[in-house]
């Protein structure tokens, strides 16, 4: 038992926010009289928050280097406007249009990255300028007006579901199957890595905890897919999000590039003297942010089924908040993709739950601000306790 408490103590930062998220969900589930977890609302939660989560993934990398990107909201709008011009005005085929749009996002990110990495202009300033530049260009391109409608397939990215009319007892069969397949893959991969660690004779979680953890996640996966199945099935954007989370978790946790980003954020000078190409890393972090902003831009455009000059306003702040709530450190070097997703969900559930309750937008802002502050205080507190021990 002592082992267990000490385990939780040393991992409280990691799991604290997950537990907080569970509590927030439970709270709203009860207080909204069960509306929060109604199949339609769960689907809505996914659709509403997808773009902030996509932005959060890219933002996390910027924050791990010890900086932020303020331009993403404007880039989202800009990319939406460009894609509208390409696909609505110029009638370029959808595939080519999407490809060009993503390329433009990458170029916008590279533009920031160039000034940040090679001219050594502080990222705050570069992306603040980018925020103004691309918001301005959006208005120039759209001449202050809204462009619509997009092709059906673009709409589907944001609002569509995996097609298929196969039902199991009134539930969408594909969603159920995906849930089960994902669960099996997850269990197998966890057991596999545990076995490998044992082979090397490394420390592993106590078996009871391991089982509890796996069970909890399997239940969560299946609850989600079950709920989605009871409505329209799996949203396409959820697949997109899942793939991005998987890829970026892999990059940050398992590859040399990821390790270099964390080292750079932890101590740039030491990283450079250890052979990390710090300028290159900085450049690609910001280029990547532009790329992910372009994906988010397409999702937003598809969701609104229009490109509007005001799209993406304040998205950068939501993305940054998601990272910090998810345990990233403002001074760099610390933070995980999964944490950011949890942080983003905390915000998303708060938004959604308060909306159901009819809390006015002004109060929603205030409460979100307080949650951000509280989360970071909690983080700082546990950190100082950990080091003083």
């Amino acid at each position: 038992m002592g082992k267990l408490t000490s385990f939780f103590k040393s991992n409280i930062r990691q799991y604290g926010m997950v537990i907080a998220l569970l509590f927030i969900m439970l709270f709203f589930q009860v207080i909204t009289g069960g509306i929060l977890f109604k199949p339609m609302n769960v689907t809505n939660l996914v659709l509403q928050n997808s773009y902030v989560l996509i932005l959060g993934v890219g933002m996390l990398l910027c924050i791990v280097t010890g900086n932020v990107d303020l331009s993403v909201g404007s880039v989202v709008a800009f990319v939406g406007a460009v894609s509208a011009v390409l696909m609505i005005d110029l009638k370029i085929p959808v595939v080519a249009g999407v490809f060009l749009t993503l390329l433009i996002g990458l170029m916008v990110g590279s533009f920031h990255g160039f000034f940040i990495a090679f001219l050594r202009i502080p990222p705050f300033i570069v992306t603040l300028a980018g925020m103004l530049i691309f918001r301005g260009l959006t208005m120039v391109i759209l001449k202050g007006q809204t462009k619509a409608p997009f092709d059906k397939s673009i709409q589907n990215i944001a609002a569509g579901f995996i097609p298929g009319d196969w039902h199991i007892g009134g539930l969408n069969g594909i969603a159920i199957v995906i849930g089960i397949v994902m669960s099996i893959l997850f269990v197998v991969s966890q057991l596999n890595s545990r076995a490998k660690k044992k082979k090397y004779d490394f420390e592993v979680l106590p078996i009871g905890l391991e089982i509890a953890k796996i069970t909890l996640i399997v239940v969560a996966i299946n609850l989600l897919t079950f709920n989605l199945a009871a409505y329209n099935g799996i949203p396409i954007v959820l697949i997109l999000l899942g793939v991005l989370i998987f890829i970026y978790t892999f990059i940050t946790q398992r590859t040399i590039a990821g390790r270099h980003i964390y080292a750079l954020g932890g101590n740039e000078k030491a990283a450079r003297l250890s052979g990390v190409k710090t300028q290159k890393v900085m450049f690609w972090v910001y280029a990547n942010m532009g790329f992910l902003a372009a994906i988010a831009g397409l999702v937003v455009a598809g969701r609104l089924n229009a490109a509007t000059p005001k799209a993406g306003t304040n998205f950068e702040l939501d993305a940054i908040a998601a990272c910090y709530i998810g345990g990233a450190s403002a001074s760099g070097g610390v933070g995980t993709v999964v944490g950011t997703i949890v942080g983003g969900l905390v915000m998303g559930v708060l938004n959604n739950g308060m909306s159901i309750l009819g809390v006015s937008v002004d109060w929603q802002q205030t409460i979100k601000g307080l949650v951000l502050l509280g989360a970071v205080c909690f983080d700082v507190y546990t950190k100082s306790r950990n080091t003083s021990r």
Binding site: I256, A257, Y262, A263, N267, A270, A271, L273, K277, V334
Partner: protein, 517 residues
């Protein structure tokens, strides 16, 4: 006989595991210039930090009497209040404030919180006259040279009604003309009743202006020499500074030294902040297989700059010269290229340049050689952990687990993590910059043992150290470096502390003559 202004009695100061000062007593008389000499790390700066309240009362043992009264300073403000002002080696001036603003920083000429600028400037002018600095008080600090900045520091001290002025290496960054001016000023201030304690490595300056000289070695006072008749000579001081038997503090090494593996020819590098200044001037040296070669010299001699220039041009601009390994000239422009060619550099400043403090031991150890534990850039964490574990055992890193953050390790263990990182990179040439700085005696011995093992494995080792006994105990050959040049090469049996010091001082004399000629 003049009166005693300061008496420090039986001062003992411990850092975790290290005794920095051991029952040190120091007596300074009124109206004298009292010099404090000793090698780097002997305890001079620590003693002065105790005196000025940087280390507050209670963090050391012993008593301090200033003007006959016992003092228990809690911080610098306390000591300044009594008229004790310390001027550190790194100047504490704000570059983008004016001279006048800097002089009265923290001591603003204000009424109810509103600064009276006329009075500030007028008073600043008076004080500047006293120190002989002919500058407009509104000039920014950034726009005047280091020599003048030093005078502003003294002016700042005078504005606080200083009675005892402590100067830590005030002339280290100055040229001879500026140094002379500064020393003349100290003599003049003495005439106005201001006592000074002068810490310096430049013995010629000390014999010129100091009235008495206290020698500190290994945290103990060796002796206090009188120089009121200016009859003290430098050799006498050197003897006292270094005169010690070297006991068996260094593990033995019996390694067959092989052929030359590494050679640097005519390396010249310019200051990145001042293009015209050559920091490294035409430096050539070589290292052989299994050999430990030392770089001796005082702080600021340019040893670190040489090492970092070789290591992927990490320092300086306009590099010239050749780097040759195994007879082939290397083109190295970046750190990754240097690592690729088997060169590793263990920094002197492990916290700022060596470690990612917030990361754990495993990721720090593997940082420079991630390629070797990954396939297609995907890291095999299990193999990484296994290798990190090996280094932990080999280097005897004391830690709770590999996932312990390095910021929570002791200095010696942190140093071992840095060493582990570079040993894992498997270099042929290992440059160690102050490998034992700030770590305790036991850890030092372990690090020496590691160095010997590496030499026995056939690595060529270049060791920079300010602790001469360490160089003498560990190196097969020693290059003496001063002012960015190699001024001597000593084999193991030629090398002694006196010989090294002499080379440095000879060079200083020579360059002085050249300037005056």
């Amino acid at each position: 006989m003049a009166e005693i202004i300061l008496e420090m009695k039986e001062i003992t100061k411990n850092f975790t595991g290290v005794r920095a000062l051991d029952r040190v007593s120091l007596t300074v008389f009124d109206d004298e210039i009292h010099a404090l000499v000793g090698e780097n790390g002997a305890g001079k700066s620590t003693l002065m930090k105790v005196l000025s309240g940087v280390y507050p009362h209670g963090s050391y043992e012993g008593t301090i009497y200033f003007k006959g009264k016992e003092c228990q300073f809690r911080d610098i403000r306390d000591s300044e209040h009594m008229g004790i002002v310390i001027i550190h080696q790194e100047l504490a001036l704000i570059p983008y404030l004016s001279i006048a603003e800097n002089i009265f920083l923290g001591n603003e000429q204000a009424k109810n919180g509103v600064i009276n600028w006329d009075e500030t400037v007028a008073k600043a002018k008076q004080i500047l006259k006293k120190v002989g600095l002919d500058e407009n008080p509104n000039t920014l600090i950034a726009d005047i040279g280091v020599g003048k900045q030093q005078l502003v520091e003294i002016a700042k001290a005078l504005s606080k009604n200083v009675q005892l002025l402590i100067l830590d290496e005030p002339t280290a960054a100055l040229n001879d003309e500026e140094s002379n001016k500064l020393l003349d000023l100290l003599v003049e201030l003495k005439g106005h009743g201001i006592t000074s304690i002068l810490i310096s490595h430049k013995l010629n300056e000390i014999t010129k202006v100091a009235d008495s000289v206290t020698v500190i070695r290994d945290g103990r006072v060796i002796e206090t020499l009188q120089n009121d008749k200016r009859s003290l000579d430098e050799d006498r001081i050197i003897k006292s500074m270094v005169g010690r038997e070297i006991v068996d503090r260094f593990p033995k090494r019996s390694v067959e030294i092989g052929e030359e593996v590494f050679r640097v020819e005519g390396l010249t590098v310019h200051d990145p902040n001042n293009e015209d200044r050559q920091v490294i001037k035409n430096v050539s040296f070589n290292v052989r297989k299994g050999e430990v070669v030392g770089f001796a010299g005082l702080m600021g001699a340019g040893r670190t700059e040489i090492a970092m220039s070789i290591f992927g041009k990490s320092y300086g601009i306009h590099h010239r010269g050749k780097i040759i390994k195994n007879g082939r000239e290397l083109r190295i422009n970046t750190v990754p290229e240097a690592i690729e060619h088997g060169i590793a550099y263990v920094t002197e400043d492990r916290k700022n340049y060596g470690l990612v403090l917030i990361d754990d031991i495993r990721t720090n150890v593997s940082l420079a050689s991630l390629k070797s534990v990954s396939t297609f850039t995907v890291i095999d964490e299990n193999r990484e952990t296994q290798i990190a574990n090996e280094y932990r055992d080999k280097l005897k890193i004391k830690c709770a687990s590999l996932s312990q953050k390095v910021e929570n390790l002791s200095g010696g263990n942190q140093q071992k993590v840095v060493l582990g990182k570079w040993i894992m990179a498997n270099p042929d040439i290992l440059i160690l910059d102050e490998p034992t700085r700030g770590i305790d005696v036991g850890a030092k011995y372990e690090i020496y043992t590691i160095i010997n093992k590496l030499a026995a494995e056939g690595k060529a080792i270049l060791m920079i150290s300010s602790e001469m006994p360490e160089l003498l105990g560990m190196c097969d050959r020693i290059y003496v470096i001063t002012e960015g040049q190699i001024v001597g090469e000593l084999s193991r049996h030629e090398a002694s502390q006196e010989a090294i010091m002499k080379k440095i001082i000879e060079h200083q004399k020579l360059s002085r003559q050249r300037i005056s000629a």
